[in-house]
């Protein structure tokens, strides 16, 4: 009985996503090949043949935008946390277990010690890293697939120039700022995590490595440019995610653009300050300060 009532309601919707051929002939005068075929359709689908929820959801454009928004929130959270953590560089040398040490080095070691002794040393940091890597990969995959989809949606461009009304530089350059940020991310890891491009790299000596890297003017310029690109990306991303997730409340909508400006400004000002302050000599490594590893031993 229940089965009949639900199916009968569903019968009004396109069963199996197929439009009756009579209707199609009547209305579509030109091409039958432009559609991409049914997407998923659990509203009318048969039982038992369904894809797992997340794969089903991700197969649609709206689902991919949700993924972009959620992974974007993870990214924004990380970038803010990363920037605030780096501000420790300005606190310079502190007293650590009776010895002198750079505050940011102590903080770096603390990140590895998170949730110890529930988890062994460094495990929680890796759990967070895996989460971040997954978020970045999903964000890129969704962006890539949607870009392809959007190209296909307008294969012949406008032959005259468009006069955009509200699309701004940030929204129109998302793909480019995104690519710049990803390329920079590889440089940044190779520079300060793997140490490939860092002269005299010392694992765990955060303050030393930071100074060694950012004292080079071209590198400092690279960091400034990349962080401005990141800020532009975050400006559109922060606003856009509210729409993509459907967080729309007339009471709060006016704050969304303001929040986006705030997040972008916070990140750009915070992150750009590091190369500038290093060049200005505010961040300057003093080799007489022992490393955290030496203090712990």
């Amino acid at each position: 009985m229940a089965s009949r009532s639900l199916r009968s309601v569903g019968a009004g919707f396109r069963a199996d996503g197929v439009v009756p051929s009579s209707l199609r002939r009547m209305a579509q005068t030109i091409s039958n090949e432009r559609g991409r075929g049914p997407v998923s359709g659990t509203a009318v689908g048969k039982r038992g043949k369904r894809k797992p929820f997340l794969i089903d959801f991700y197969s649609t454009a709206v689902g991919k935008k949700y993924v972009m928004a959620v992974t974007g929130i993870i990214g924004i959270g990380f970038v803010i946390g990363h920037m605030v953590g780096n501000l420790k560089a300005y606190l310079g040398v502190i007293d650590h277990q009776g010895s002198r040490a750079y505050d940011i080095d102590v903080y770096g070691e603390y990140l590895r010690e998170l949730l110890v002794p529930i988890l062994p040393h460094g495990y929680f940091l890796w759990i967070m890293r895996i989460g971040l890597i997954a978020a970045v990969l999903l964000h890129i995959h969704a962006a890539y697939s949607l870009t392809i989809l959007n190209r296909k949606a307008r294969p012949v461009k406008y032959q005259s120039s468009r006069d955009y009304q509200v699309a701004n530089f940030a929204s129109r350059s998302m793909r480019w700022t995104g690519i710049i940020v990803v390329l920079f991310l590889f440089w940044h890891l190779a520079d300060l995590t793997w140490g490939w491009f860092n002269p005299g790299f010392e694992h765990g000596a955060v303050y030393r490595n930071l100074d060694a890297s950012l004292s080079r003017v071209p590198v400092a310029v690279l960091y400034i440019v990349a962080n401005i690109a990141l800020g532009i990306h975050l400006f559109h991303g922060t606003w856009s995610l509210f729409q993509s997730i459907g967080w729309n409340n007339p009471r709060f909508n006016q704050w969304r653009k303001g929040l986006a400006t705030g997040v972008a400004t916070l990140i750009v000002v915070g992150n750009v300050s590091f190369p500038i302050m290093t060049l200005a000599g505010v961040i300057e490594y003093d080799a007489s300060v022992p490393s955290v590893q030496e203090v712990s031993e």
Partner: protein, 258 residues
Amino acid sequence: MSQHLKNITLKIWRQVGPSDRGRFESYLVPEISDEASFLEMLDLLNEQLISEGKEAVVFDHDCREGICGTCSLMIDGQAHGPQKGTATCQLHMRKFESNDTIVIEPWRASAFPIIKDLMVDRAPLDRIVEAGGFITAETGGAPDANLIPIPKPVADASMDAAECIGCGACVAACPNGAANLFTGAKMAHLNLLPQGQAERFQRAEAMVETMDEHFGSCTNHGECEAACPKSISIDVIALLNADYLKAKFKNRKNLSRI
């Protein structure tokens, strides 16, 4: 007093048929009243072309009072031209000046193939409405007014969405060729009202996925809202996104009951 504009150059997209490559052709309008509507200007041009034995420019139009959604045209890079909140038929020549060059192009999207010149086929919008743009209601005698109480702000929001005339300007204006504003408007119109609740989530899923078959995806530029002759807010796109996720959960749950 009406004035006359002189020497308007029109660069109009001419395309013999769907498979033709098409090209811009220039026409001179020596004199036109500023009280003429944009479409009247095209009518006069066509009369002139016909009297010269040339083929008239094909363009879509019907009611010419901004309610039918038939007229289209990308005018100087803007869907429905430079005037906000109106369709092409309500655009008048007073918005232009003498010696202007006006570029007129058809709407471009893979879902909107060009039939001829400036006329495109917008049938995929109908496919989306067929998928869920309806409610189930008792037929028979008309029900009494206000039988179902609806809070005023809810009725207003629904009516704002119901203003959509289905012209496709949102798709034309969108850098991605997405139809989220159209679909969002059609969904919000019914999903906000009590009458639309029974099929709300089947509607959400069916309409969004039909949209997915034909159009691009939303990247929140907001160009659709700026181009919409009815100024429908992109708030309806947020509602579309929210209802689609809810629908995915609820429809699967309902199917599991069978």
